[in-house]
């Protein structure tokens, strides 16, 4: 599976509030389900999401089993300077994914 879809505006004015949208590919197995023979299916979810803006954490979220597959997280921030957003997802079974997006602030 493709890993993630990211939407960050390529350009913004200084001080402008921008929307950031992220979608990570993950099946988010709750841990509450069983196979047809009654064997529990172990939990396998994304547990933590962190977004940084030029190295500084600007947003983070904890995720739980009630979150649907392919979690879509959107938030807003203030465009202060040109640079890079980095998005990190971590989860069960050593799941880790990283994506980056650049922004030019005028």
């Amino acid at each position: 599976m493709a890993s993630a879809l990211i939407n960050v505006p390529a350009k913004a004015k200084r001080g402008e509030i921008i929307a950031i949208k992220t979608l990570i590919s993950h099946h988010m197995e709750t841990g509450f389900r069983h196979t047809e023979t009654g064997v529990p299916i172990p939990r396998d979810i994304v547990t933590h999401f962190v977004a940084t803006y030029n190295g500084e954490e600007i947003f983070s979220a904890r995720l739980y089993p009630a979150i649907a597959a392919n979690p879509f997280i959107t938030f807003s921030t203030v465009a202060t300077e040109s640079g890079t957003f980095e998005f990190n997802w971590t989860g069960d079974n050593g799941f880790a994914a990283t994506e980056q997006a650049k922004i030019v602030v005028e």
Partner: protein
């Protein structure tokens, strides 16, 4: 037959019996007349998109919010990947999908002269794989097959559905027969919901007209992408009817009929549905 059965009844009972038969016939006609209202007029047809909430619409409209795009990106990769002993990729024969596959999904299922029957996009991809790439066929509803079919379908986004091949006519009517036939323990036909009661609620959910404009599509209930055959299977299970195995000619006939029924409507793949 009725007379012979009747003759075994006493005269008084016979009259009651006839009256009963008349009542049943009248009841049958009055209850099935709504089922005979026929096709939805062309100008009254609408995509299920129009019945969705603003949030779900926004999810479909924006590529970075539409989870179906994950499969489209995968499909693009698979399109360029050489596979099978023939060592060929889809792109080696078909080139750039953005031009060669434009409008293709909008006219599928298409008639295959070699098989003498229509094939849908999924089947066409597997025919290509087994005959030209000499690779094993992909399983129905596997991520690999969904990715390739949604990548192809995506190239037709915004284009009108076409159904003009005369060779499809017998399959369209075979599909219509299934669509109009009562089946399952609930004794329902597809028409009862999708022609006669669209827009009403079923268990709190609006009943759609059932136009296959957005397949393969991401269904929030499934939490994944699925094909039109999966959706049809879903409906059959809901009617408590026996579903067909994936790839069955009945499904392809239904798909062919549904695309004819939705002719002229615009493709939305990958759509998002609740």
């Amino acid at each position: 037959m009725a007379a012979r059965h009747g003759s075994s009844l006493a005269p008084g009972h016979e009259r009651t019996f006839v009256r009963l038969v008349v009542m049943v016939v009248v009841a049958l006609f009055t209850t099935t007349i709504p089922g005979l209202t026929g096709d939805i007029p062309v100008d009254k047809r609408r995509s299920t998109y129009e019945q969705m909430s603003a949030d779900t619409k926004a999810m479909q409209d924006e590529d970075t919010a539409n989870p179906g795009m994950l499969w489209v990106l995968d499909g693009e990769l698979a399109w360029r990947t050489r596979t099978g002993p023939a060592g060929r990729s889809c792109a080696d024969c078909h080139g750039e999908a953005s031009s060669t596959m434009k409008g293709v999904a909008a006219r599928y299922p298409a008639f295959d002269p070699k098989r003498g029957a229509p094939v849908d996009i999924e089947e066409r991809i597997n025919i290509c794989r087994t005959e030209h790439q000499r690779a094993p066929a992909l399983a129905f509803e596997s991520n690999e097959l969904l990715a390739l079919s949604v990548y192809v379908a995506r190239q037709s986004r915004g284009m009108p559905i076409e159904s003009s091949d005369a060779r499809l006519t017998p399959f369209i009517s075979a599909g219509r027969d299934i669509f109009e036939r009562r089946q399952g323990q609930l004794n329902l036909a597809c028409v009862h919901c999708h022609n006669d009661n669209w827009g009403q609620k079923l268990a709190g959910v609006p009943i759609p007209q059932g136009h296959p404009t957005g397949y393969p599509l991401y269904r929030l209930e499934w939490q994944t992408l699925g094909s039109l055959q999966r959706r049809l299977r879903n409906c059959l299970i809901g009617m408590r009817a026996e579903s067909y195995p994936y790839g069955a000619p009945e499904y392809v006939a239904l798909e062919t009929f549904l695309m004819w029924r939705a002719r002229g409507m615009l493709m939305e793949s990958p759509a998002v549905r609740p």
